[in-house]
Symmetry: none
Subunit: 215 residues, 4 copies
């Protein structure tokens, strides 16, 4: 593979720094972890560089099995033999690792959600094209757009759509037979949260009120 | 969405701890980040709970756009109008965010790679089924298996296949026209690394020697 | 300008070495940076050849906006129409770049601080002269000398005065209306540290205790 | 000083990494350096986060006495008893440290130079105000603007003005009696270079041709 290049020097230096401190201080734990992982929860969050669930939830290595994709979306169950990276991650977490929780975390200023809004409101024809991976991926959120398009300002729509990205994903999670079964047998609980990057806030979806409330 | 449950108390407590400390100390930076992200690099790593690239590379919020999937795989370019979460993340990072680097990070004891090995060597018929999301996802790595099946022990094969997960992904990255174009124009460089969880090591793929060398 | 001379050969050679290695490996990132800088922090440190904040903090190009002057001093706000290089750097960082942090870094064996001590204790009359640029610059630190002159040994006084160079600068920073406003609105935080060159240590000023503590 | 806050955690971690690696491996040299600095050269460069002279010139700790200000400017000699941070740094480097070289390094995409251009061409009245530190600082470069204003496009003017920032500074350096004396006695040489951030280039001012040539 002739196109690979050496890592930037600052990353090499930082790695050596990590090795000599964090790794060195925790080597016993890392060696034990090498035998196998036993995460408590799966987290589905956005690729966005500003969202660090390990920091927000004070996680140690080995605690969370983390899948990150554009706009923290879960597609509906579709066992058609095609490649579904998100569904594979969920299947592995729930059936092989048997995690106790799946947390879907949305966030403010989400570029993917903004793209979906532009596309659904006819302002981004390039995202409608068959060849747009981002557009086709954001199709998952179209049912969410249906529920927020009545809102007056674009800002209100975007905020609501960021939260729909969490709700639609939770709904789609329940279409996976192995997820529904684990939930019904009490072996798995689902959680939805939305993170405000600038304000450092966290809101939690509450089933009874069908609302997000600050925690 | 009636199945959502409140977050476990320990996560709520840790969030409040983060809010009172890390967030509070960095609020100015997080507010600035809320205006937009300018990550330098995209990292593609595994969902595995033991792999923390932000820790290994001493990253601050805002530095890396991170996609995590099973076995850090990139599928080949396939603009068929279906949902491709990994391809969407790559498209967004390279064409919208214009990151300067894409780093694919593999790791030791990878459950996904082990599954691929079992499947390809006929020991896991359940992964061959159309309905297996993990199996179909690991199909991406079959070309890598072809290259390692001559090795004698299963251990050697697994180690080599973990590195093939990096190489095959780098090869597939170059099948995306916008990736190849950015690489050829000098606006993007690709990097492949493999992380030894227990030993805290990092090896880098070197194009000239077609080998991974310790850094 | 007839007095300019060619660069020493060893610098030319090192530049070519950098171009062929570090630049070559990071060209994509440097090209992106050429479009604009988005530094997170401003660092104010000494010109001293022994103080390298980019090394100490594992910084990549583009991370820190760095002003270096004798003894890392910030003068008080004085909008008198004269030339104030340090004030201009602070104004640009805070109002144009909108950095989230300003870090003032003092250090051990600081020649500027030693000069201030000699001058204030009457041992360096040449620094008292109107024509002494170093003397007039170190006048900024006279309020710091007032606070340490009660200490018995010259060594204690010098150590304390090096830390006063940090504290007085932080105090002066708050006299700039745009700094005070950004701090009060939570868009900027100020930090003071002192670096021990020989021992490789770092101490941080803590507001509650009014002391420097090792980190 | 009640406004100081703790350092961001990622900087603390990186410092500990540096301490355990770079410092640890060079402790003997750093301890020796603690006894005194003997830099070969003074470098005057911009605060811009994209300009790292230590990287470009492969510098070790202790090699360069570095002053960084907006647009790498040197004001004319003006011993009026006011505070002149740049003049103090030059005085200390030349008369106390007796450096053998002073290198003024300009660079591409310089925000300060762009501001000067806007101000001098009447497009930035806010920079004309007495209270603008950046404006008053950039007054130093007005003689350079006189020489480039005949150029037709703004782009040509900006490029030429970035180089004038080097030439004017070299000229002003020679107005300092102690600089002129050291130059005339052969104890100091002056050098002017301009760095192209995106392309990684370096051009050197040549006195004979009055031009910058690539090195």
């Amino acid at each position: 593979m002739k196109h690979a290049r050496p890592l930037p020097g600052y990353l090499v230096k930082r790695f050596h720094g990590w090795k000599a401190t964090t790794y060195s201080e925790n080597a016993a734990w890392y060696r034990k972890l090498a035998e196998g992982q036993h995460p408590r929860a799966m987290i589905i969050s956005c690729c966005d560089s500003r969202v660090h669930v390990t920091s927000i939830f004070g996680a140690d290595q080995g605690e969370f099995f983390i899948h990150r994709n554009i706009a923290n979306l879960v597609p509906p169950y579709q066992p058609d033999g095609h490649q579904h990276g998100t569904s594979a991650a969920i299947e592995y977490a729930v059936t092989a690792l048997k995690v106790a929780h799946v947390v879907v975390m949305g966030h403010s200023s989400c570029g993917g959600v903004q793209g979906c809004l532009s596309m659904c409101s006819g302002q981004a024809p390039e995202l409608e094209e068959k060849s747009s991976f981002v557009g086709r991926w954001m199709d998952i959120l179209r049912p969410g757009y249906e529920r927020v398009q009545h809102l007056k300002s674009e800002e209100e729509q975007r905020d609501a759509l960021e939260k729909q990205a969490v709700i639609v994903s939770l709904e789609n999670l329940m279409t996976f037979p192995f997820v529904a079964e684990a939930v019904e047998q009490g072996n798995l609980t689902l959680h939805g949260v939305w993170h405000d990057i600038g304000g450092g806030g966290l809101e939690e979806y509450q089933a009874e009120s069908d609302r997000f409330n600050k925690i």
